[in-house]
Symmetry: C2
Subunit: 397 residues, 2 copies
């Protein structure tokens, strides 16, 4: 196993993220495993051969196969949800504060599984295994580029179902995930209602992408389309559109944060002491400088085309992926605990309110716990421990 890239750490170095929520490591060492689907047919009817996805597991599946929990990851994340690959890793997986022995997702009781999504962003992270536009198309021997089929959140879930079957999982105690992970969690409950007892969508995106989110995601994608090096998606083996990807990831970071965090972390400090942006175009504020650097640092591990596929998957999300929202919602049998973040400026708490209203109309039993804080959307990743008791109680019901 190669040296892992810890995204929270990359972002944290530049952005001064508190490391408090990462203090407790998963007890055992974890490893990335690989699952292969020889032939996968997308919801849209396209066939992809040799789909490979990485996954991690924490804990042990019981004989009945009914003590599993699935954790779907967020937009720029991957399946490293908990633990360390090596004891010397700087930080454990992103939700380690709630996954482990004695923790809310208790690995002494549950078998926790997470998987890298299709079209995962971080194709250059050696610990990510995914299939997407950067993958070699077996028919041509070259990367797919934008010829890769458009995939949906439901496609992500179908691959996860194949993995669950292969692992012998019969029932999920819960399916959970933050942000884009919350969409997958809700889709699980609709696609496989008899297999999912509970859903815990964190910083939820609702039951379909709000048109405002569609517009914001367009913003994110724009610098990639506008980078001449993007070249219609055919840049593999050449000078890649790193600037566009860096700007795109900067936009993601801004969307994922909030005024309180910005004020607390940077205030109105200048990037260089004494260099007031009023005086020269060469001067900037510390917040601008830090976000530039964080975007650039992450761009080196990311794939431009995969970013565009992820944007499209989020924009096209509607639970069930059918002609109406209702038919997707009506299939749900699971109980739902929604966990928005109070200061979320991307997937606003009002998206959760709308979702819960729609679920209740269809007779779904719902609960709500709001993560307090001023960190914005990312509080659902960094501060998930604040919801630990709510998760514990919900799993006991």
């Amino acid at each position: 196993m190669m040296k892992p890239i810890n995204w929270m750490r990359v972002a944290g170095l530049a952005l001064g993220l508190a490391a408090g929520s990462m203090a407790h490591a998963y007890d055992g060492l974890v490893e990335k495993k690989v699952f292969t689907i020889p032939s996968f047919t997308t919801v849209g009817g396209k066939t992809i051969r040799n789909v490979r996805i990485g996954y991690e597991t924490y804990g042990t599946l019981n004989a009945a196969g009914n003590n599993a929990i699935f954790v779907a990851h967020y937009f720029s994340g991957n399946s490293h949800a908990a633990g360390k690959y090596k004891a010397s890793d700087a930080a454990p997986g992103y939700w380690d504060s709630v996954i482990g022995a004695g923790k809310p997702f208790d690995t002494d009781r549950y078998f926790v599984v997470s998987a890298d999504s299709l079209v995962n962003l971080s194709t250059k992270d050696p610990n990510v295994v995914t299939t997407g536009p950067a993958t070699i198309d077996p028919d041509t021997g070259r990367p797919y580029g934008m010829r890769f089929p458009i995939v949906t959140i439901k496609d992500f879930v179908v691959t996860q179902k194949a993995l669950a079957d292969a692992l012998g999982i019969k029932k999920f105690v819960a399916v959970t995930g933050a942000s884009m992970g919350s969409l997958q969690a809700m889709e699980w409950a609709s696609s496989y209602p008899d297999m999912v007892e509970r859903v815990i969508p964190v910083i939820p995106g609702g039951l379909e992408a709000n048109p405002y989110l569609i517009a914001v995601a367009d913003e994110w994608a724009m610098p990639i389309y506008d980078d001449p090096k993007w070249n219609g998606g055919d840049y593999y083996g050449r000078d890649e559109p790193l600037h566009g990807v860096a700007e795109a990831l900067k936009l993601v970071t801004i969307s994922s944060r909030a005024p309180g965090w910005s004020q607390r972390t940077f205030g109105r400090e200048f990037a260089v002491a004494g260099a007031d942006p009023v005086a020269s175009w060469d001067y900037k504020y510390k917040v601008s400088d830090a976000l530039d650097k964080a975007g650039a640092a992450r761009a080196g591990f990311a794939d431009a085309d995969s970013f565009l596929y992820l944007v499209r998957a989020n924009q096209t999300f509607r639970i069930g992926q059918g002609a109406t929202l209702e038919e997707g919602v009506a299939r749900i049998k699971a109980k739902v605990l929604a966990i928005p973040a109070s200061s979320d400026r991307l997937l606003f708490p009002e998206y959760t309110t709308t979702m819960l209203d729609d679920l209740k109309k269809h007779g779904v039993v719902t609960e709500l716990f709001t993560i307090p804080g001023d960190g914005g959307h990312l509080d659902g990743v960094t501060d998930i421990a604040k919801a630990g008791d709510a998760i514990r109680a919900f799993l006991a019901k």
Copy 2:
């Protein structure tokens, strides 16, 4: 007077804005006038010769010169706050619903003045008169480009003070403005405390730019910097960076709107019926298509460098433009009525809360009226009539 460009109409055509708030025209016809400052020294100590700014007035100044109201405009706006240039104009000025005979800013009683800002965005609108990077530098005979001095919100206000003096105004009953106009209004109260009785900041940006706003404004500017045609700001007389400007204005529009408006106006409709974005990269959602078109339509009237100067002016805003916030706030003598919009996703209502807390600490008498709605930031422009009674009552105090 040439045919006026009504920005609300340009945006409205593409974005389906309700025209309700524009139904009542200012009673008389108005005209754009021009005020000239032969030599203007910026707060930063740079001298600009022959500063020309356009302005409009509604109503009549009384003999004592103490019945004036100043209206500062928003980022992409100009001094056409009320009335029509010609009876056949499609729509009146943007705040016509509250400026006019018998309206809250009652032109039977008050002399209402508005002025085009320095570095105004819409240099190609024949009804905008401004001085900025697109202006010919008398020293070189060529447009300044990025050699124009960096200017601040306080500089805007200093030009407005010179105009007020020239008009014979001794005292303002109120200084008001939406968004960037709110910054100017607050600056007026700090720079000229004995001249300002009341301030009415609408969709307020607070007393200094929050670092989160600094980051969001960086986002807006990015597509211009990244457009190869921008060429370091020297594009005058050549092929201009229209794509960058269009993308920048699209970002401004998204920031100025909100989920409720997006849902109500577009829902998840496709740009072309039956053309589902799941099926092809050629297909998009109606919201994306409308925002693309609105950005492109506005880009033809806007100047790229001026956009960058406006971004910088907003980012560097601190009331008083001094070393500390306190010294700027401490000078204020005016009463303040703050009017945020409940669904504002750009200048969040929490910026108003922070501002009012800071003002109260310094003994300023404050009031708050929140515009209800789901339209986002732009509700402060389109739905100002909802605050009409609050404004009327405040002016009577």
